[in-house]
Symmetry: C2
Subunit: 212 residues, 2 copies
Amino acid sequence: MTDVVETKQDKIARRQVDKFQARRTQLATDALNTLAELGYARTSLRDIAQNSEFSLGVMHYYFADKRDLITQAVRQYEAVCVTRYDEVVARATSAEQLRDEFVEMFFDTLAEDAPLHRLWYDLRNQSLFDESFRADVLEIDGHREAMVGRVVSRYASLRGGELTGTPAVAYTLLDGIFHRALLHHLTGMTEAVARLRLELSKVMDYLVAGPQ
Amino acid sequence: MTDVVETKQDKIARRQVDKFQARRTQLATDALNTLAELGYARTSLRDIAQNSEFSLGVMHYYFADKRDLITQAVRQYEAVCVTRYDEVVARATSAEQLRDEFVEMFFDTLAEDAPLHRLWYDLRNQSLFDESFRADVLEIDGHREAMVGRVVSRYASLRGGELTGTPAVAYTLLDGIFHRALLHHLTGMTEAVARLRLELSKVMDYLVAGPQ
DNA sequence: AGAAAATCTTGACGTTCGTCCCAACTCGGT
DNA sequence: ACCGAGTTGGGACGAACGTCAAGATTTTCT
């Protein structure tokens, strides 16, 4: 008897928790868009509330404080970006195909999700000053590194060669290119972006040692 | 007669202007240190005033507004950092010496001026959101690129080879390494920093094509 | 249908921000 | 010695911030 009752209550409780979590993620996603538009330094809770369909008070109903909200938003950025190239890796049958499709998607997302990417770099930079962001940033950074690692190791495998450096180095180089291309893209320096696009292929070949 | 009088007044005026400019640069330097400590998002004019030997009101006597102050501070960052490797280039007599001394100074300044460097990246990122920072950021970025260009082209020359890519690519790669090393340094991941140090030399060799 | 719990709105609180003003002070020129 | 321009300190202003509480509204369960 009590078992049945508790099970019912548990179901109710679980459904409410799920609903609660669903709204949390929805609000965090809205916040992500607002943050991407305004940047961390200029985004207030009122900005986020106004860009959502709820009022300011709701923010504190679903989030303990501003840090809680932003932390949640950052974590959802991860889900968006961290598996982006996996299908490219999965369907590639030749080194050239993998390289070309990777480069294409690399610069496609650069242009299409530019505001979101600049937010990532913004928050990564905040972690240089605010230690409470560092754990999440390092975790996401690790996943990005792993994602790049999957691409380049698969590329090396298709080329029948080996990686010249660690995945960490590969990530550093590719992310450096991405970061700079983003700056130039947002500034409208399209020719500079195009130049980096050409160089990306060359850098990938640098990362692989073996038969050319 | 009037000429003499005007000349006197001119001298006085010029001296006052010089004094005015001197105090501006002094205050901007103080601001630079405070910004490096707290980051752009968290630094208020009161923070800056408190870290200087003057009061808040003085800030608005010497600077039109907060943007004027920060812009001035950013410009002074340039002077600090943009000629850092020139003496290394000047005194190098062999490729190995240039490479080793460059790498050493690279990671020395990383550790020694870490707060200042994270501020640079912070402000560069602000320019992704605030267009009014972009001109200064791009100018400084260009000078940094030119500085790296001087190093690697001299390195290529000493090696008797040619650069494989443009200075822009060289800068992208080296700055990507620096940026990531800074994150790891501030997080206390010394082994990751050491790994990047080893990789920097290899990357420099990648940048040069010719006799090994 | 009615009660209870949840969700949401509204408005206010104390604080901190950039900005500004005015009085006090300093110092070189007459 | 005195005067006036230049310089500095301290306080005050309105706006915007994060946070919170109390009531209205909606949803959910019996």
